[in-house]
């Protein structure tokens, strides 16, 4: 099987759209609420998850035939936790500013259900290369939703993008007020729901059959 066979490319591409981890698989919602109040942490979190999912997928895929079935979840968890800890240690040593930025999110990566979901659903049954692509694809698919949600939350919640004011002062002078709800976690749920609604309305094959 060639490296970029149709099957492999599908593992990479479908998570970006038709098999998106957040909107279709409904994984990783919790962290999507936590880190999307601003664009910057959303992007950092998206990229970190991408790297960790890809690495964890490869490792679990390599080990998949040796892992005892009854403790496979624990093995996956240990691999993910060890990876996250090591990456965070390296960041602290070589990119301290980034590690300060990530602070709480590093811990959140371990609990991100996308990781366990992909390890269990894909890496346990596929080769390392396909698993790697699947990890990258799912990470980016997750990052994409995070960025969309964070864009709306930051714009409507604080009138900024990447911390820079984009809604001009005269709007505020004429009575425009930032929407405080947008900065609260429920706003992320509402936006994610709107994205899911839009996606399912456009792609009717995603809808369940009516009884």
């Amino acid at each position: 099987m060639s490296l970029f066979s149709k099957q492999n490319m599908e593992a990479l591409k479908t998570p970006l759209g038709m098999n998106n981890p957040v909107t279709v698989q409904v994984l990783g919602i919790c962290s999507a609420l936590a880190v999307t109040a601003q664009l910057e942490p959303a992007i950092v979190m998206g990229l970190s998850v991408t790297v960790i999912v890809a690495m964890a997928n490869v490792i679990i895929s390599l080990l998949r035939n040796t892992i005892p079935n009854r403790i496979r979840i624990i093995v996956q968890l240990v691999v993910v936790a060890a990876l996250v800890t090591i990456v965070s240690e390296f960041l602290k040593a070589f990119a301290y500013d980034v590690s300060v930025q990530l602070s709480v999110y590093v811990g959140l990566i371990i609990t991100n259900c996308i990781l366990m979901g992909r390890l269990e659903a894909f890496a346990m049954a596929n080769g390392p290369w396909a698993s790697f692509l699947d990890g990258i694809g799912n990470g980016l698919g997750y990052a994409k939703i995070l960025v969309i949600v964070a864009f709306f939350r930051e714009l409507l919640g604080s009138g900024c993008l990447f911390g820079y004011q984009v809604i001009p002062q005269w709007c505020y002078d004429h009575g425009y007020i930032n929407n405080g709800l947008m900065l609260m976690p429920p706003a992320a749920l509402i936006i994610v729901a709107c994205i899911i609604w839009y996606q399912r309305a456009r792609h009717t094959e995603l809808q369940e059959e009516q009884n």
Binding site: A37, P68, R70, E89, A93, F94, S103, L183
Partner: protein, 255 residues
């Protein structure tokens, strides 16, 4: 090979745990020196940020502006000329570190702060002018406050700059600076706007300032011009005081 056997499961788990433990311990001890250096450098940057200094080479800037990292005793006297830097902010109160700095020929005192936000610890530094009352600059940081709300205490222009020039401590050493609800500032000289939507973190900053600066009361009142027992020796060092001291006494000091 039967991977479902109990013995296999036990051996697999044990070996995995030992390997991972060794790996983590190895990585941790390998990187420790570099991490500690980074943490030290970061602390220096924070002290400099309170002095409104953002030079690229923090190491050199720190050496240039910070003249001493003293340790004070409970009476506000200098107990040690160095060693203040090694004290973690969390331990302020048990020990009293004080950074004596010189910016453009003027003495500034930087006091470390430590308190509680909504989700975790918050900390910072406040730089006071030579009068030990007005604020020259502030720096605040947090471990895990909500982005866009409480975490805005790190926003320099929005939250930290408004502190500059306000009165932190009155002549009796009472902490007068307060963080109030956003838009409710009544007395411009001692009140700063909090963050709307980040009330608990804002209150945390308020409590942190009152608490941490409170530890320094003996030091802050020492040589304060409002106090009647203002000794000539202390006043002479403080140019604002000189006028209030009888001329004869100044001569004595000058000898």
């Amino acid at each position: 090979m039967n991977t479902n056997k109990n013995s296999y499961t036990f051996i697999y788990a044990s070996v995995m745990v030992i390997i991972v433990a060794f790996l983590l311990a190895f990585v941790s001890s390998l990187l420790k020196p570099m991490q500690e250096k980074n943490i030290e450098l970061d602390k220096k940057k924070q002290v400099l940020a309170a002095l409104n200094i953002f030079e690229k080479d923090a190491e050199a800037a720190y050496a240039k502006y910070v003249k001493a990292d003293q340790l004070l005793d409970a009476q506000g006297n200098v107990a040690a000329e160095t060693g203040g830097f090694a004290v973690a902010n969390a331990a302020v109160g048990e020990q009293l570190p004080l950074y004596v700095c010189e910016v453009e020929g003027e003495t500034k005192y930087v006091v470390p702060l430590y308190g509680a936000g909504l989700w975790g610890p918050i900390w910072g530094y406040v730089a006071l002018n030579a009068d030990k009352q007005t604020i020259y600059g502030t720096y605040f940081a947090h471990a895990s406050e909500t982005p866009g709300l409480g975490a805005e205490i790190t926003n320099r222009d929005k939250f930290q700059v408004p502190f500059i020039g306000k009165k932190a401590v009155d002549g009796e050493g009472n902490v007068v600076i307060s963080v109030v609800k956003f838009g409710k500032v009544k007395d411009e000289t001692v009140e700063v706007d909090g963050i709307s939507g980040g009330t608990i973190t804002s209150n945390g900053v308020d409590a942190m300032l009152k608490n941490s600066l409170g530890f320094y009361k003996p030091f802050l009142t020492k040589g304060a011009c409002a106090a009647k027992a203002c000794e000539a020796a202390q006043c002479a060092a403080d140019s604002a005081c000189v006028e209030s001291v009888p001329a004869a006494k100044i001569e004595v000091v000058n000898q």
